[in-house]
Symmetry: C2
Subunit: 115 residues, 2 copies
Amino acid sequence: MPRRRPGVLLPIELAILDAGLTIQPREGSFFGFALARTLAERDGSALVSQGALYRALNRMEVAGLLESEWEAPETAEAEGRPRRRLYRVTGAGEAAFRAAVRSEQRGTVTGEALA
Amino acid sequence: MPRRRPGVLLPIELAILDAGLTIQPREGSFFGFALARTLAERDGSALVSQGALYRALNRMEVAGLLESEWEAPETAEAEGRPRRRLYRVTGAGEAAFRAAVRSEQRGTVTGEALA
DNA sequence: GACTAATACGCACATAGGTGCGTATAGTCG
DNA sequence: CGACTATACGCACCTATGTGCGTATTAGTC
């Protein structure tokens, strides 16, 4: 895997954008741990290890496909769990996703067969 | 271990108060995870598992021997780690510790032999 | 077509706090 | 003295993010 050509998305990145764009309208944002579970359940999907996921999220934020902020500490405290980092797909992220899907003629990103 | 008589401290509670009263003057407060490492290194000490430690800390706070507050989120964020719960030994905790040490004629709480 | 270098991944582990479950223990009561 | 029962503990696991290290892959270059 040498020098990446900009504009090309890896399977895990496609999966993140796909899941993100599904969750975001309902929840407002999404976070790594839940994403890991979601992607792991759709077996056959691109999810691999948490390590790879968090690295991909960071990579995509640097690239401008995602933006993130830390959850309000009060929320985490109220639910008695560690703070989450909340991600949103940016306009650039959505555009990159659509472009990638368009260029992939066969099947959807989630691996579902075409009806 | 039936109904505890108030005023009697368990070994782990003695160890927590001892370590806490050592660290507190220098650091201002102490937290569970570091305490676990400290107590584990002094082998022969009363440290056991993290589970037992966090339960003891909670128990002691309820009993008024300790008081705690969550670390400022900015501090944790700046150091890139989860938030700590910062504990301090209360006046009642210090008194209980001294009383317990006084009533234990043999050796110190940390297990060091008397010189 | 072979080689090299950049990159992403898997695995294990770190950080920090915490819980659920089964077992061991130790006061107290009969 | 034995039985009962409250309590603490050990183990395993959870939540959430993240890194270090060695390996696999692969797109360009020669």
